[in-house]
Symmetry: C2
Subunit: 428 residues, 2 copies
Amino acid sequence: MEKTTAKPGDYVEIHLTKLIYEGVLLESPETEKSFVLLKLDSGYNMGFNRKDILKIVLLKKAIEGEKEKVEIKKNNEKKNIAMIITGGTIASVLDPKTGGVHSLQKPEDLFQFYPELFEKVNIVKVEIPFMKMSEDMDFKDWQKIAKVAVDLLNDNNIQGIIITHGTDTLHYTSAALSFFIRNLNKPVVLTYSQRSIDRASSDADLNLQCSALAAISDIAEVMLVGHASSNDDFCNAMPGTKVRKLHTSRRDAFKVVNDKPFAKIYPNKIDRISEWKIRNKNKAKTDSKFEEKIALVKIYPGQNPDILDYYAKKGYKGIVLELTGLGHAPTKRARNSWTLKLKEIQKKGIVVCAASQCIFGRVDPLVYSNGREILATGVIYLEDMLAETALVKLGWVLGHEDWKKNKKIVVEKMLENIAGEINKRLEE
Amino acid sequence: MEKTTAKPGDYVEIHLTKLIYEGVLLESPETEKSFVLLKLDSGYNMGFNRKDILKIVLLKKAIEGEKEKVEIKKNNEKKNIAMIITGGTIASVLDPKTGGVHSLQKPEDLFQFYPELFEKVNIVKVEIPFMKMSEDMDFKDWQKIAKVAVDLLNDNNIQGIIITHGTDTLHYTSAALSFFIRNLNKPVVLTYSQRSIDRASSDADLNLQCSALAAISDIAEVMLVGHASSNDDFCNAMPGTKVRKLHTSRRDAFKVVNDKPFAKIYPNKIDRISEWKIRNKNKAKTDSKFEEKIALVKIYPGQNPDILDYYAKKGYKGIVLELTGLGHAPTKRARNSWTLKLKEIQKKGIVVCAASQCIFGRVDPLVYSNGREILATGVIYLEDMLAETALVKLGWVLGHEDWKKNKKIVVEKMLENIAGEINKRLEE
């Protein structure tokens, strides 16, 4: 093997006789110094026998967080924004000792990774309510973010907020903030990265640059800003209640469902696509009461409806069913009918709502007799609302004791378009 | 109102002063003869006061099943196929008396609706194992279809099979047949319609014409043939294990996920897109043993893992989890950790598999420590397999007593690409 200047943590090419592998060089375990370990972009670690390697080519030096300190200078010609950092890949770096990733804990480290951000805006406040991968979050975390966000939104010195967040449940959080923050006055921009920021192909830079532009725009909405395609050219600003993670690993993992993006956002311009609420003088406030006893149940062929007994027994207050097609479950004509059980649990006071597992399109219980049979049990059909958004909204609506007492008000609230979650003008 | 020749059941335009509505004319209730009832394409019934109507324009006469008998002539220049009719919209017609739809029960009626089909092929056998909307089906129905299909596949007089089916769970059935029919020798074509066949815009005609072409082609695969777009120009032939209903109402509701269609099918030609197995001399057979005690559970933020106790208590043998992102559930760092409970139920012998609720992309538990934590409990990560296909496959694998006894064989089978359900070459 030729000599190399590459060190653990660097992004390299390993040349074998016929193949070339790309990834981050890891430290070899003490006991196996004859092996070179590489972390591939897929996340897999691969070992190479040193004698099979022709050469190692250095592609990108590791970012060495500790060595140089970034000086955060304020420039009066730029607008002021705040950041809320909550964890996720966008705040994770590779640990070259283990091959795993760990979370950045200090804002200075984040600033150092994203210098372009500072060319556009002053980041005058950074809040870190917690550091978590998003799959570990729940409604209490959404409440914390909402509280921190509202304080920042009511600070006259701040034009808008960027919230960085893991991707797994980002669309649940964006829906939650859409309901939890009332009288919204400024942009609330959620963003992410799909590739760890020390990989050659990280998507964090573009997402953050576009998020900065969104945060100082006049779009007073809770929005998710992220890659519009696999190209690093522009992002979409997507409504917080109408967005879903639809790919495990692509940079453009998030897509608007049953609606349009607010805008295309380039690093230097915003192209409007649809309507948005504009920046205003309201005083933002939180309304983040939440009923924890809610469930999302996806229906599948032959499913036993007894699962509903479990939820009734455990004191659940609301269930969102992901029904098939236009909003169907197995009916009286099936071996395992859901009809009676649905009636039963609603008699006990459990609120049952319906979204479609098709994801795209609108539920409509009136087309087929099976739909009418399920509708007649009292199920609330949620138009074109995403199941994930529906779950969050149901928890929020049932969190309000005065609404919860009255089924009629619950139905009204679930079918009222409160934060863009229902799109009456949905085109096929 | 001007006089009209339109009768209940006809497809008409109702002209008001400013608006025009299109739909199927219904019979007015005896007590409200001053109202004209119209069934809109959306499925909603709308009432118009007779005096507000300027005129009613007849667009398409109702199909009157009873009046003329179709004579089914065999033509030796055409190839012979068989049809299996199972119900669904493609076999439903509007009842102008109630405004609802009902299923066609006689093959002659179906023939009458689809004359184009007979221009391409001879339909020499029609089997109707049952008539159901697909949301009322379960594995016993899949077994019935498989049995009927295999008998037809081993009939030397038949070139291929068309199976008509409701859309709601069509992708579960196509996955089931992909596993249940072994040594496949001829095309098995599943098709559908999204619009009832008496509406002006029914999609059944094109789907059936393309299905006929597919059924006499050399594609010896279980495939779903349906509209490739909203235009009535061509269909896709989609792999039975890699397809999903992704829209509640569009004609092109079904999309291939994590793979490519086999081919584009026009009414008069087939354009190859990817590889397929070709027609052969095998003797097809059924292998449709199935373990009923399986469940699909979609994970959401904060979800309580106690739901797994319910399944353990009820004697379930297998669970497919729809995890977030690359394959995550709330871990030890979350308020409601799934880690211990997953270990617990797997110790009891329940097989747990993982697919992603992102739908598109591949699960990979090795990228983040949360994934590695869940993987370490023993969960089987199913690559890029659809959750729906995974559920069907798990039921099928566990249906085999000799495989079920040995967890190692179950893991092997779940990760073996048996019917195209795993795509190793998935491009991002």
